[in-house]
Amino acid sequence: MKKVVMGNEAAALAAKLARVQVVSAYPITPQTIIVETLADIISRGELKAKYMPVESEHSAMSSCMGASMVGARAFTATSSQGLAYMHEMLHYTAGARVPIVMANCNRALTPPWNLYCDHTDSLSQRDTGWIQYYCADVQDVLDSILIAYAVAERVMLPVMINLDAFYLTHTSELLVVPEQEVVDAFLPPYKPSNKLDVDDPRTFGNVCGADLFTSIKYKRYCDGLLVESLWDQAAVKFHGHFNRSRPAVEAYRTEDADVCIISIGTATGAVRLAVDRLREEGMKAGSVRLAMVKPFPVEGFDRATASAKHIIVIDRDVSYGAEGIIAQEVKAGLFDRHKDMTFTGFISGVGGNDITPETIVPLVQQAISGQGEAVKAGKTFWTEVLP
């Protein structure tokens, strides 16, 4: 079945198709449509699930953890300040190894108040241990949530599916809605090997000495290193069922690219248009979309940038006192190869500014030519800054 829906509705439909059993959430713009749609679906009996209208995001994440720890598939959604309010429980859920999936609508953090797109909310949660995926379009929202449950329940880590505020949450596109039987074949019910069970009592989260603590953290670290390949395996399996794939890294015209433009989220569409224009002008440009950002998808990134001599990163976020957060991640990913290439990072589109081909093309031209204000600045160049 095909439908024209917004990204938020696709997220709710995905949760329904994943047969989530507990939805616990607190409203925040621009996420509200997700939880309203799910509340409606559950109240109409179309999904057998408990809807918990909790009093805060901290409680939303806490109750998802409780539900997951007794073996229920749990889902929540939030944005921005709500995600920041969850922070403690993000660490907790990753440490508790509960396979929760959460949709996060990327919105600017205050102050000043701003409801529009910005990635600093989720990227500043990068060290919590959550797997992070950034959607490019409405279909990607539905597909990635289904893959997320498959991966989360395999590696026992939670997954955050990120949607750009308004560019994706409130933009309607054609969505292929898969049949329930096909989804069920791809994603069987959640059957954890460890859970809170009165017939097999165990204690979770006790105080722990340094030696065991280190071993437990090391195990999680090692499992994190498997995530990219587990995701790509799940994406291959997903392709077998749905004839679409959602790899951790998505490359566009990179086979012979000297210049690779790295982006996340919906800006990738504009980057691809920019790549086409730059190619028309004779520049061998390519686009690399990091669909997965955490853990950093090293293998896919290396493949996509194999021929690159110039790396350009567009960040819709910032790490104060440093540079863009994706720029930092990419630099770390490039560590062994950095002497063979140049690197330029830009900050663009924060707080809801549009990132367009008209923004990107001159930035890339300046970076490659070494001429222009973006290069002369000598530090990370912010586009759209008022004079």
């Binding site: 507990v22 909790v54 009093e55 539900a67 007794v70 403690e88 009165v198 006790n206 105080v207 000495g209």
Partner: protein, 301 residues
């Protein structure tokens, strides 16, 4: 003995890390003896998250999750939802935390869970300060008590928050005070709480020799004195509007209670008199509530 049946397995096994005379351990033992094996405990940072044992050891033989400080009620509510959607409506989900996790940092999720009437039993073991971190004041610390964050000659200047009244204001199906010094009454209340569906709250007074500065062997006596002096009266509230006084021993002054505890050592005579007056006023307010309930029931009849 045979007519009583086989001895029930003790779910609280030896080897806890509590201080000598710890009231919170007695509280758990009494609670589990009534709630039984079909119980999942959600506990948070506090004395109990330490005294349960150091991983991989535990002294409890029911499932336990030790979670973040301010998440007792919300994790428990999630456990309940997760069980219910899997057709398990019999397991008791016990949210177990101290006064900090109830009166202070855990207050918002508790209020949220009770407003939604989530089917959990929330027990606050109240030792009237942050004892696990070394005796810092909470909003459950009584007036005049010394803690490390209420230094000086007067101790804490504010009143103790009345948590059961707040629960009653949520129209919670069942709220009660109980005390380790009155085990039969506690057992009765636990049985009642276990049989009721929806949110249930027990404010369980648990003495703390380490933080209250009294001899470990006096834990039960101090707890009983709290009841006798009406500092901690025993009562129940049904649906937020039916107040019922539990059996109470003869009344005595607060003097003996204060005298046994080093935390009240610096209270002057006039401060003790003021404290007595607060206790008497609160007791009268409680009696009025219980009597007006009885009165309204008689009027209705």
């Amino acid at each position: 003995m045979s007519e009583r049946g086989p001895k029930q397995r003790d779910l609280f096994t030896p080897g806890h890390y509590g201080c000598p005379g710890c009231g919170a351990t007695l509280a758990m033992r009494q609670a589990l003896s009534v709630l039984g094996e079909d119980t999942i405990i959600v506990m948070t940072a506090g004395c109990w998250s330490t005294l349960i044992g150091i991983y991989p050891y535990t002294c409890l033989t029911v499932p336990v999750i030790s979670t973040a400080f301010g998440s007792t009620a919300s994790v428990a509510a999630g456990v309940r939802s997760g069980l219910s959607i899997q057709e398990n409506n019999h397991t008791t989900v016990l949210a177990w935390t101290g006064d900090g996790g109830t009166f202070d940092i855990g207050f918002q999720p508790l209020s949220g869970a009770v407003e939604r009437n989530d089917d959990i039993l929330f027990i606050c073991y109240d030792n009237e300060a942050y004892m696990n971190t070394g005796i810092q004041r909470s909003s459950a610390t009584p007036t005049g008590a010394w803690t490390t964050t209420t230094p000086g000659s007067s101790g804490k200047s504010q009143r103790k928050k009345n948590i059961v009244e707040i629960m009653a204001a949520h129209r919670i199906p069942y709220a009660a005070t109980a005390c380790i010094g009155a085990p039969a009454d506690l057992k009765d209340k636990l049985e009642k709480a276990k049989s009721i569906r929806g949110s249930r709250f027990i404010h369980l007074f648990a003495s703390c020799p380490t933080g209250w500065r009294h001899a470990p062997e006096l834990s039960l006596e101090v707890a009983r004195q709290a009841i006798r002096s009406r500092i901690f009266p025993l009562y129940e509230v049904f649906d937020g509007d039916t107040w019922k006084l539990s059996p109470m021993p003869d009344k005595e002054d607060v003097g003996a209670y204060l005298k046994h505890q080093g935390r009240f050592k610096k209270m002057s005579i006039s401060e003790q008199e003021r404290f007595q007056q607060q206790v008497d006023d609160d007791w009268q307010r409680l009696l009025n509530k219980c009597q007006s309930t009885v009165g309204s029931q008689m009027n209705a009849a």
